[in-house]
């Protein structure tokens, strides 16, 4: 099949970018979207032209590296899917597809479709962990955890940190990402000790990094490859209120 592409090209962080036209001819509907970009790049490389820079790694939907806005939707049209798992059978012969990077002040473009997501690391650095040193842990079965609690925590912990939530949000808010980690740890007994300190520190860090606030539209949930629910955001708010009231943080 043949597809027309409009791809964002930007030489560097400060440079102005624009959409450029490319054609993917002779691609197969079994290909993944990224394999189609590989084909386009291979032909650019053979001509000695600079390849289109885009991030990808595991190509099985778990590393969270791939990050493209396709036709105005982060990770493209399929629910619960990263770009690397989007296949061309989802498109029709002759379709025109627009490809853009994540756009947010906190995710500056490095080149073309590649952005800097270190702000997410900084949010975790602020407190997204349980402070246990290696060596002194009690037996794994010493604390019983109800199956439902552990499953709910796992639902939140499934976040792959891709940043699609930020990309989809009209406010470029990181609330879904943060709340997934806050929920995961606040649900489990192991996360209780630092529960209040954590929620305040992570929210302050996200605000400092220039992410927006949340307007409860739920675009983030709709594009999340792991279908993480915005009920996590509500849980984060409850944690925050508790931190204020109970702990006086």
């Amino acid at each position: 099949m043949r597809l027309n592409l409009k791809i964002w090209r930007q030489a560097g962080p400060g440079a102005a970018g624009r959409l450029e036209d490319y054609t993917a001819s002779d691609v197969s509907s079994d290909m993944s979207f990224l394999e189609m970009l590989d084909v386009v790049n291979d032909s650019l490389v053979r001509q000695g032209k600079d390849a289109i820079a885009f991030d990808s790694d595991c190509r099985e939907g778990i590393c969270g590296m791939c990050s493209l806005v396709i036709n105005g939707v982060p990770h493209g049209p399929d629910r619960g899917t990263t770009v690397c798992q989007l296949h061309l059978r989802r498109f029709k012969e002759g379709d025109t597809i627009t490809v853009e990077p994540w756009r947010a002040r906190a995710f500056p473009v490095i080149k073309d479709l590649v952005v800097d997501r270190s702000a997410f690391d900084r949010i975790i650095i602020a407190g997204g962990y349980v402070s246990v040193n290696c060596g002194g842990a009690p037996d794994g079965n010493a604390i019983l955890i109800p199956k439902e609690i552990s499953e709910t925590a796992m639902d939140s912990a499934a976040c792959i940190g891709c940043g699609a939530c930020v990309a989809a949000c009209k406010n470029a808010s990181a609330h879904l990402f943060m709340s997934a980690k806050i929920s995961h740890l606040s649900l489990l007994p192991q996360g209780q000790v630092e529960r209040y300190r954590r929620v305040v520190a992570m929210i302050e860090q996200a605000d400092a990094d220039g992410f927006g606030s949340c307007s409860n539209e739920g675009e983030c949930e709709a594009v999340c490859p792991k279908e993480i629910s915005i009920s996590n955001i509500a849980r984060m708010t409850r944690e925050y209120v508790r931190a204020m009231l109970v702990a006086g943080k």
Binding site: V39, V45, E60, C63, M65, D121, A137, G140, L144, Q190
Partner: protein
């Protein structure tokens, strides 16, 4: 060079305890005076960097991705083994040790494996304490599942995302140390050389992948945790950026490379669908707990699976291996799938796949139970193939997955270069010729959380390490060498695509150095690889400039290393004229087609010394002694 594995003496069960006591210690106040470079942020790298940071060392941690959380450990699905015996089904440290040595087909070092089995228990405790949401039973206890190559349930899991959850646990511990300023993080950096001063590893040279700057980093010891070399086969289940570059460049600086021919083909992958494919997707072999593997009895049977009656199906694993059935080790399952397809009984358009059928399990347990256990895997399968595995049997085929070989290390995980330690998949030590399922996560974390924190202290306390700076001649020479290669790659300006050459290499490797190897095929590969390398250096096109993000340049550098490394892999396979584990030489098989080991001649670790590109490397042998688990022909019948 004599290889000294530095195994502690005494009975196997007390070797590690004794060694822990005998090792030298670094005074707590002095730890921050030592700088340790950790390359890689997967399970091994992140856990090492975090625990060394916790001890107070000054750690510099590097990764090629934009965040440490993206390392390929994240993709491990099935689980992590530990000899907890929570199921009361007869498991023990000794049994895990025994299973691992046997599963590795008697090509691993007993003392290392026993330590691994011992530490497995602590890993689970540590991960639970970090908040890893392992699967639980209704009573709140940790749940287990069984896995290939074992008859006990000892695998801990977090849905089909165990690697992700363990990695995030390690990543979070690492981030905590970044917060505490004991660890400094260097993302989007690629290690392109090791700096050796007076015989000791003292630093690395990296390329900043964003600015293109060649950077020098100095330390008192270097830890490589840079993963395996599966992408030498182009198509593999590894991430597309996984590479051998860091290991290979350390090898070129003097670290011996051990058992490169020990590669693992994973039996339950989604079959190749066309030439365009960039990677293969693995599905956890836990699927084999409930799925039944079969092919039609008739050759070239093109009927759809539901029209093939039971009597005309060959459940070949259950037939040939009644006691292990569908749960035989990976190498056995893979080879049998290949045999069925070679025999013309493969299914799918290409004839290169076999069925993995959940019909019986769905009838027995109900679709909801199957969904709870394997929902994400079924979802992934359907995404990729456009087929619904709840309705039609899955199709699977083996794919390159894991590499047991790696840089040679002694019991302290130190390579043949003093101060250069190698952890996780990047080293060769614990899995012998074949790794059992759910053991890679265990090894990566054991190395990082519980081994290196002790052994690095032993090294640092026992060495005199005069202060050096990045102005040292060795750093300059290294940076020049890296810069020269960058310039060289950009100056070829040929007409062949980088991927095209990588794919050609992969084809050679899969066809001639793949699941079944012969002297003839290996010699064919050894003749073809140097030609391809020649072609690369004359005709490849690497566009762009060196001073910014240039993914073509990164990729070309990695392929260049593979074109050298692949030759060593084939040479090692040729040298090892026996079949063992994942290494199957057709010349060496039992009458019924099982791998036939040759313990009299090959009970050694083959450690290769680099002598120059295109020059014959020198083989050093570390003999393997089995005092506990006496080698027998592996049998899963």
């Amino acid at each position: 060079m004599r290889l000294d594995a530095k195994e502690p003496s005494g009975p196997i069960a007390s070797k590690w305890d004794r060694h822990q006591f005998e090792m030298k210690l670094v005074n707590p106040a002095n730890k921050r005076k030592y700088t340790i470079i950790v390359v890689g942020t997967g399970l091994a790298g992140a856990s090492a960097a975090a625990s060394l940071g916790e001890l107070g060392y000054n750690v510099l941690n590097f990764c090629i991705q934009d965040s440490p959380r993206r390392a390929h450990s994240i993709a491990a699905q099935g689980g992590i083994n530990a000899a907890k015996n929570y199921q009361n089904d007869g498991d023990s440290v000794y049994r895990l040790f025994y299973d691992t040595v046997k599963g590795g087909d008697y090509r691993s070092r007993e003392s290392n494996v026993h330590r691994l089995a011992q530490l497995s228990v602590n890993i689970i405790d540590q991960c639970v304490a970090q908040g890893v949401p392992f699967a639980r039973e209704y009573g709140g206890l940790l749940d287990n599942r069984s896995f290939g190559g074992a008859q006990v349930s000892r695998t801990f899991y977090a849905r089909g995302q165990t690697g992700q959850q363990l990695l995030l646990g390690a990543y979070q511990s690492l981030m905590r140390q970044v917060h505490a300023r004991t660890v400094r993080l260097f993302a989007r950096r690629e290690m392109l050389d090791l700096v050796v001063i007076n015989g000791k590893a003292r630093g690395i040279t990296t390329r900043n992948l964003v600015t293109g700057e060649i950077e020098r980093h100095v330390g008192d010891a270097v830890i490589l945790a840079t993963g395996g070399y599966g992408t030498a086969y182009y198509l593999s289940t590894n991430a597309v950026n996984s590479n051998v570059t860091a290991s290979w460049r350390a090898h070129k600086r003097g670290a011996l490379f051990a058992n490169p021919c020990f590669t693992q083909i994973h039996p339950t992958c989604i079959p190749v669908s066309g030439d365009h494919q960039s990677k293969l997707t693995l599905m956890s072999e836990s699927l084999r707990n409930d799925g039944r593997v079969w092919v039609p009895k008739k050759q070239r049977d093109t009927r759809p699976p539901e029209q093939i009656p039971e009597a005309e199906r060959d459940y070949y694993l259950e037939r040939k291996y009644p006691s292990f059935g569908n749960l035989v080790p990976r190498d056995v399952a893979s080879r049998n799938a290949k045999q069925a397809c070679d025999d013309g009984r493969g299914v799918g358009d290409s004839g290169l796949s076999v069925y993995l059928d959940f019909k019986d399990a769905i009838e027995r347990l109900g679709p909801d139970a199957i969904k709870e256990k394997y929902g994400n895997l079924f979802h992934m399968y359907q995404k990729i193939t456009d087929e619904n595995p709840y309705k039609v049997p899955m199709r699977i085929y083996p794919a390159m997955h894991y590499t047991m070989g790696g840089l040679w290390v002694d019991y302290n995980l130190m390579s043949t270069i003093a101060g250069l330690h190698v952890l996780g998949e990047a080293n060769f030590s614990d899995h012998g010729a074949n790794r059992l399922g759910a053991s890679a996560l265990m090894q990566g974390l054991a190395d990082g959380y519980f081994v290196i924190p002790y052994t690095i202290g032993h090294y640092l306390a026992g060495e005199s390490l005069p202060k050096v700076t990045t102005d040292h001649d060795a750093f300059k020479e290294s940076a020049d060498r890296v810069q020269k290669q960058v310039n060289q790659l950009l100056s070829i300006k040929g007409s062949r695509g980088i991927r095209e050459i990588h794919r050609a290499l992969g084809r050679i490797m899969w066809d001639d150095v793949g699941m079944a190897r012969t002297e003839e095929s290996l010699k064919r590969a050894l003749a073809a690889i140097p030609k391809l390398r020649e072609d690369f250096w004359h005709n490849v096109s690497v566009p762009g400039t060196p001073d910014n993000l240039n993914q073509s340049l990164e990729y070309a550098g990695r392929v260049a290393d593979y074109l050298e490394f692949a030759e060593l892999l084939a040479l090692d396979a040729l040298d090892r004229s026996e079949s063992c584990g994942g290494h199957f030489r057709e010349e060496s098989q039992t009458p019924d087609g099982e791998a036939l080991r040759d313990d009299a001649n090959y009970s050694y670790v083959a450690a290769w010394e680099f002598k120059g590109v295109g020059k014959e490397p020198e083989l050093h042998k570390e003999p393997l002694n089995f005092e506990e688990v006496h080698p027998t022909q592996r049998s899963y019948k």
